[in-house]
């Protein structure tokens, strides 16, 4: 019966921990009984050959375990997987192109230098670390969205045809777009918190090119504020994705986030120097601030002018 033990153990490896011991005990009991019954009926000894026959009929361990599992165990399920593949397929060539362009620019800046493999090796290293970073963020975001969607479906509310949106629905969301926003927020938060040296600018002069980190250590004073904003923006996008469309409450929350974004920009611009090339960076931030103000005004106008909620836009 050693084969039964090996088989039961193998099935158990594919089961959730909370089910494992119980299912293993039952399987062992059932298989042992099957082997003995079959041996008795055939008048044969319960040998290895007979045991192998019973186990073979029972099925491949992974398949058997999947029949016991209460629900499919996906990190990214079949519904989101095509979008995940598209996102990865876009990310890899874009990253490769960026790394290639930077490498070529670097080469052009040093036309007199003898050919060397060093820039290529550096670029390859940057490419692979970039792919790993982005792949990690994307997988995290997609897995989170997968869980959010499962929770929505598990809620099991009764569907009302009146909630069907119109054909030209201004509140319809693009799932891919929302997931992309989530990815951007997660990537930015990770970048600023754990890899601040990657937020850098390449400065070329006649003789040399150098990489300067943009963030001075003093920038860390704004991190708690930025982290809070990213967390709220992430949560809002996840909620919108879960609801499947913009609603009035989520539109107001989005407006609130845009206003707070403007306030944070204003605080950083008016504050002490925290960037390398502080003046130039703050000039760029001023442009961001103007865009943010215009966006907030447009959002407010839309919220105030729009008619009372239609049945499909109820919060």
């Amino acid at each position: 019966m050693e084969l039964v033990d090996r088989y039961v153990h193998e099935v158990g490896q594919y089961l959730p921990a909370r089910l494992r011991a119980d299912v293993e005990a039952e399987l062992r009991s059932l298989l042992t009984e099957s082997v003995e019954e079959r041996a008795r009926a055939a008048g044969l000894p319960a040998d290895a050959q007979l045991t192998a026959d019973v186990v073979r009929e029972f099925g491949v361990p992974r398949d058997v375990a999947s029949r016991y599992a209460p629900e499919p165990q996906y990190l990214i399920g079949p519904r989101l997987y095509p979008a995940y593949r598209v996102a990865v397929k876009i990310m890899i060539p874009v990253l490769a192109a960026v790394v290639l362009v930077l490498m070529v620019i670097g080469q052009f800046r040093h036309p007199g230098e003898p050919p060397s493999m060093a820039p290529f090796i550096r670029a390859t290293g940057s490419f692979f670390s970039g792919v790993l970073f982005n792949l990690g963020v994307m997988t995290f975001v997609f897995a989170l969205v997968e869980r959010a969607m499962q929770t929505r479906e598990a809620a099991g509310t009764v569907w009302d045809p009146a909630t069907l949106p119109p054909v030209n629905d201004p509140d319809r969301i693009s799932y891919f777009g929302r997931i992309f926003v989530l990815y951007l927020i997660a990537a930015l938060a990770l970048l600023f918190n754990f890899f601040p040296e990657w937020v850098a600018v390449v400065v070329f002069n006649n003789a040399d090119s150098r990489v300067y980190p943009l963030l001075e250590p003093a920038f860390s004073r704004y991190l708690p504020l930025l982290n809070a904003w990213w967390a709220l923006a992430f949560a809002l996008n996840l909620v919108v994705l879960r609801q499947g469309r913009w609603r009035r409450t989520s539109r107001w929350a989005d407006f609130g986030l845009e206003v707070s974004n403007g306030v944070i920009l204003l605080v950083i611009i008016a504050g002490p120097p925290v960037f390398h090339y502080d003046m130039w960076v703050k000039l760029v931030l001023q442009v961001f601030l103007v865009v943010s103000v215009i966006k907030a005004c447009a959002m407010l106008y839309r919220l105030l002018v729009r008619k009372a909620a239609e049945p499909w836009a109820r919060s």
Partner: protein
């Protein structure tokens, strides 16, 4: 050959689908009396319904998780066995499914003729 293989696979899949709902009804009906996994398999086989073990045993667990069966471990003949029996909601559901089955069988039977 490929075409034949495809047709056979399609037939197998459709046949499996047809049997799936019936298995739940068969199991719930038989488990009005207490049985353990292997004895239930034999009982159903003796009545003409062959179910492979890899399908039947996980089905018992799922029905139990849904509250349609209850179970307890007992040692008999020196062997630990898990005995299953339909719960009150399981018995009620079995009656409803049986009525549905009779109706469906009548309609399909008439259609086939």
């Amino acid at each position: 050959m490929v075409m034949g293989g495809t047709q056979l696979s399609l037939r197998d899949n459709l046949s499996l689908e047809l049997r799936r709902g019936a298995l739940v009804l068969a199991v719930l009906t038989e488990l009005r009396h207490e049985e353990y996994g292997y004895s239930l398999k034999k009982l159903l086989a003796d009545k003409g319904l062959e179910i492979d073990e890899g399908t039947l045993y996980p089905l018992l667990r799922r029905l139990e998780a849904q509250g349609l069966l209850k179970s307890d471990w007992r040692v008999e003949d020196g062997r630990p066995r898990r005995y299953y029996r339909a719960s009150a909601p399981g018995e009620k559901l079995a009656k409803e499914l049986a009525a549905e089955w009779q109706k469906l069988a009548g309609v399909i039977g008439a259609l086939i003729e």
